[in-house]
Symmetry: C6
Subunit: 233 residues, 6 copies
């Protein structure tokens, strides 16, 4: 079976080669777990293979993200990397405004429309939405959210792209059901230290490693130690 | 007493031979527990015995399910296997549209109607609804859901088919009361690994194994180790 | 003091002889705990003594119940056993329709009326309502439920019958206060196995065994091991 | 300081002699903890000393209570014992209707009025309300309940009687604040058995035993073992 | 830095000398923890130093409080001790009505007004509100309560008095933020006995003892054993 | 990468040099955890380097804060330190009213406007909002709060200042997502004593110490022991 690499060292081994192309995956984690780093690594792996990729940021402004990712060796300024800045905080004009970076400030309805517009103009093989949580927090009730989310997944499914959606750990609604796989980035406090563990919770159409494996956020991004155990005891 | 095999190795021994025909059973499990694999194995066991079977999918599109199940050796394309694609995400026309595969996108009311229509045209000995959770998540309140669910069970009871309904673990409303049996697929995290255990919680009209037995999702589907214990200690 | 036997081996010893006639008792338990078996054993003990008994089923259709209970040696078809099929799922006409078996499908209001009608026509020494939970789940709010339940108890108290009401474990509202005794059927998971324990929680007007005693659902019905302890440690 | 005996063997020692006369006390306990037995023992101690006492029952009908208490050697038929049957279930006329036993069925508003009417006609040195829980369960919201309860306490405070109010364990609203003392009757499950412990949680104007002491419901009523510990370990 | 003694043996050592004058402090504790005794000791320490003090009681009527405190050697009848009886239960005229003792029965709005009126007429160096909980329980929603509480603190801050507000343990809203210090009176059940521990949780402008220290309610009031540990292990 | 020191001994080592200038950080902690001391130390470090700094207090009045901080050696009266007194309790005119200290009493809307006005007149390199909790507690619902908070962050982002926002531990809404880092001040009760631990939970654009380190509030302010472990075991 054809699979595509995630760009995250060690995770592909847990997934038996990588993700199944053309499907949508959920990556869950709390603040500081590395969700954004995960999303960027996934996209830059595509760029490395000559693919057009699209990053929709709802939390960290593209401007500061660009600075932060440069330290990990990722150049978000290269042409294959396309970004939509949908962070609610940003308001001024970007210094590097243009085709790749746009901004939205008014409403999430306008945002959803803008994403659809963008993906209809150009073909992307990898897309990341980071994080879904912000979308959810502005919706008035669960039923309305589910309707919005299902419509959102429909638009994404038309792309033919492999999609990574990041989300808060507490988000345990229909996302886990309607996506083809769920990966959890966990932070466990033990012995006065934060331990990090990655877990593949669901992966349709493929066997997968059922252990929680340790990972670290190094100066090269997320690294998964797929032959180690989180708890040695 | 006449019983029919579930198609799941080891589970029939736990049930004292299999399920009682003509009744409705609930199979509970979280994301990644194997609910869909359970439902397909149950139906394909019927196909193997020359029965017409009906699969109603509310979560994973039939198209990707077909690919995934082929890897487990299940050919969902054979004529005895009838499917209704009621996943909310699907929107385009299916490549293999026809009598067996249909799709619904607008509303669950229309879905419920379509299921009834289908079962009135043809007789099925096995039916699977996978998962009930999606139906529940779109209903506005619990009272309305219960009314809808009771009406749904009424339609199913007219079929004379053995019915398997899958459901989220958290669904603990009237489903467990109004069905003839409850089987739980559990995932327990222990020692940095996911352990899987199957439990028959309720089985009207028959004695049953009251142990939690380990199971695995192998490349032949779910296998229950009915002579082993999940906890050896 | 006069007491009547429950029909459940070992339980009468826990109750110091049995239940006090003419009062209402609550039997609590989760799905698969044996509430229905308890209710039927209680009624069949009355039949054995030549009493008219009334069984109101709100969950399992009388038809399938009849099949299931035959395996335990209980013949629900004998004249002294009167049944009201108030299960919401049943809709077709019963094969054995008649004075003993009736059905209700529309509303619980109609059901409550039908129960009252029935008990006014004939005198029953034992009555079982199995389970109360279904009644509760269709009522809009707690206050309305309490009002309905109090009215229901009033009707029952006029009968002079000994009444057993079964209920979900979570039902912890006014039922425990307004009934003369509470018996709990518990299922405890321990060491990968389901253990069953019975507990008399409240028994007005009599001393009682304050231990949790093990019980099993055998092919002769529920058996309580009133001289054993559930936890030996 | 003058104190009055509670009538419960061993409890007076925990209270340093008994309750302070003219105040209101709360006795909390779950179903089967012995709240009613506590209330009756408290009142019969007054009767033994030639006092008029008033018992307001909201849960168990006076009729069955009379039978049950006779087994513990308490004759509720003697003239000094006055009862108000405010149980919602009772509806028929009492066999022994008269000055001491009355009944109410319609509404709790009418009940509150009847209690006030009664206590204005005659002077009682001891009053028991058993249990408050029933009053609370029929009130629509917490604010309304508090208002009602405060009005109720006002009426009681005018009596000059020592008042015992029983209540469900979960009732943890203003009752614990506005009463002069709180006694808890606890049932703890340990080692497959129910253990019973009594605890004085609050006792204004007096030192008290701060241990949880074991108690039993014997054929002479509640007995507190005030020199023993519930947990010996 | 100038500090004033609390009147509670051992607590001043925990506070590095006492409370900072002119500020407002919160004393939290459950029923029976000794909140009222704490408040009275704090005020009587002021009386001993020739200060005018004001006690606002919202729970225990001044009349019974006077009796109870006399046993601890506190004479609430002396002229420097001023009281406002704002307990909702009291309704009759007080025997010792006059300038010091007043009563309120209708509404808490009127109560708040009366407190303000009183403090505008006379200058108090110490004020105690006991307990705040009653005020909170009669307010319809949290926002309204916060607005009321902030207005209340404003009035108090104008006095220049050192204020002690007692409160239920569960009250964890803005009170802990807007006051200058928080002292907790805890009751811990251990080994079948109630243990009492006092904890300074917050104390602006001063270092403080960060241990939980044991305390007892003796016949001389609260005594803190500031050199002992609650848990010795 | 350029970083600015926090002014807190030991914390800069945990952060790999300090905070990234121009971003917004969240400092979480319960009552008494030292949030205000943290904020003041952060600002005074700027003052020491010749920067204009702005302190917005929503909890402790500037007047008493000035006294308290003087004991830690911080002189809030120096010209570079600018304060906005937005505490809801303060009402009288300040003794030292003027350009640096102002007060607001009516509404938080007016407060938000005042902050914006102030920062538009003068350029600040460091800003502290202490605590955000008060702002949150006066908003009617979560959606409204989120909208308000996002607007607030927008205003702050225009300043180009490094911003520290303090918050209650329980505040776990969008704040943790929309800020560039999260630092937690924890108080753990262990062995009858309060232990204090500081944790960097999230720090965008930089590696950081993932241990919980002990800290104390000394007479020089907060000190972090970045080479020690909170739990030694």
């Amino acid at each position: 079976m054809e699979k595509i690499p995630t760009g995250i060292k060690g995770l592909d081994e847990m997934l038996g080669g990588g993700l199944i192309p053309g499907r949508t995956y959920l990556v869950k984690g709390g603040p500081g777990a590395g969700k954004t780093t995960f999303a960027i690594q996934f996209l830059m792996e595509g760029v490395r293979n000559g693919e057009n990729v699209l990053y929709v940021t709802l939390e960290e402004p593209l401007e500061t993200l660009k600075e932060d990712m440069a330290k990990l060796g990722f150049d978000l300024g290269i042409p294959k990397f396309h970004g939509i800045d949908a962070t609610p905080v940003t308001e001024r004009k970007h210094l590097f405004a243009g085709a790749f970076y746009e901004e939205f400030g008014e409403s999430f309805e306008r945002l959803t429309g803008a994403i659809q517009e963008k993906v209809e103009l150009e073909r992307y093989l990898r897309v990341a939405i980071d994080p879904l949580t912000m979308l959810k927090l502005t919706v008035k009730n669960e039923l309305e959210y589910r309707k919005t989310f299902i419509g959102f997944l429909k638009s994404l499914s038309k792309l033919g792209a492999t999609v990574v959606i990041t989300s808060d750990l507490r988000t345990s609604d229909i996302e886990e059901y309607l996506t083809s796989g769920v990966i959890e980035l966990r932070t466990i406090e033990a012995g006065g230290k934060i331990l990090r563990g990655i877990l593949v919770k669901k992966f349709r159409g493929s066997p997968f490693d059922e252990h929680i494996r340790p990972y670290r956020i190094t100066d090269r991004g997320i690294e998964v130690y797929h032959t180690e155990n989180l708890f040695i005891e």
